[in-house]
């Protein structure tokens, strides 16, 4: 059985948006008979992540949170995966991290340590949002321009597509939204969509699919 680990801290506005937008992935995965381990809010801490990754054969890991070049963080920005300390726990897994910059160094390190692939952003992931919609982030049509593409990668993998196909679909939607923003004279969203598009990368076996 395919197993998926997902982390969804919610301690600030950015993680609140990421967490809410990734809920749909849980529903889609469960609909495909994927067993989901959801580490939400205060459960998204290093101890829990390590226990889950050690005990379970999670083929797929999906991190939402902050990060840096060599780190993915969880609840209250606690580092949960650190290059040089525990990236070996990602061995044999397809990894997706919406965690700023981590695909720059942690990505290649994880693949070197045995991860099948590591997809994410090699610089900051940026999105624009409407503060008036903070209590209902899924109704925020500005944030949707950014967060719908960011979730599409997971949807594509769960549907059986390869990492490369997921990458292509995500980049295409980012590009489509970029053009839409330009056509709507929304240059501010456009420039940040352009930035995200340029910094969305994959390392490792991009032909890999969920088994």
């Amino acid at each position: 059985m395919t197993e998926m680990l997902i982390t969804r801290p919610e301690h600030d506005k950015t993680t609140h948006y990421l967490s809410n937008w990734s809920k749909e992935i849980i529903n889609i995965a469960e609909g495909k008979n994927i067993k989901v381990f959801d580490l939400n809010r205060e459960k998204a801490i290093r101890t829990n992540v390590e226990v889950r990754l050690r005990k379970l054969s999670c083929n797929l890991t999906f991190f939402n949170g902050h990060g840096n070049f060599n780190v993915i963080t969880g609840h209250n920005n606690e580092p949960i995966i650190i290059g040089g300390e525990n990236e070996n726990l990602l061995k044999s897994k397809i990894v997706y991290a919406i965690s700023c910059k981590s695909a720059k160094e942690l990505g290649p390190r994880s693949v070197k340590a045995g991860a099948v692939s590591y997809t994410g952003f090699d610089d900051d992931f940026i999105f624009v949002y409407e503060p008036e919609n903070i209590s209902r982030p899924l109704h925020d049509n500005t944030a949707k321009l950014f967060l719908e593409p960011s979730q599409l990668f997971m949807k594509s993998l769960i549907k059986g597509n390869s990492v490369r196909e997921g990458m292509d679909k995500t980049k295409k939607l980012l590009a489509d939204n970029f053009l839409k923003a330009l056509n709507d004279n929304d240059r501010d969203s456009a420039k940040y969509l352009w930035w995200d598009l340029k910094h969305f990368v994959s390392h490792g076996d991009v032909d890999a699919k969920l088994q």
Binding site: K13, T73, C100, D124, I126, E130, T142, K191
Partner: protein, 69 residues
């Protein structure tokens, strides 16, 4: 990016002025910012200001190269 020149600051601030007041930007681990806060960081030329300028300049380069029309 090295220290921001006054010309770059002026250009970036000019472009940021058009950012709607009813929106905010989430810039990864740096946090969430209003237009006024972004402009203030660019004025100071701090790490966040340099990041904002970097994003703006990358977009301008794309425009110049014709990738974005």
């Amino acid at each position: 990016m090295s220290n921001l020149s006054e010309d770059i600051k002026e250009l970036v601030i000019f472009r940021l002025e058009a950012f709607p007041s009813n929106r905010k930007v989430s810039i990864g681990s740096y946090g969430e910012f209003t237009k006024e806060e972004l402009i203030e960081h660019v004025r100071k030329g701090d790490e966040i200001g340099k990041k904002v300028a970097d994003i703006e300049m990358e977009f301008i380069r794309a425009l110049k190269e014709g990738i974005v029309s």
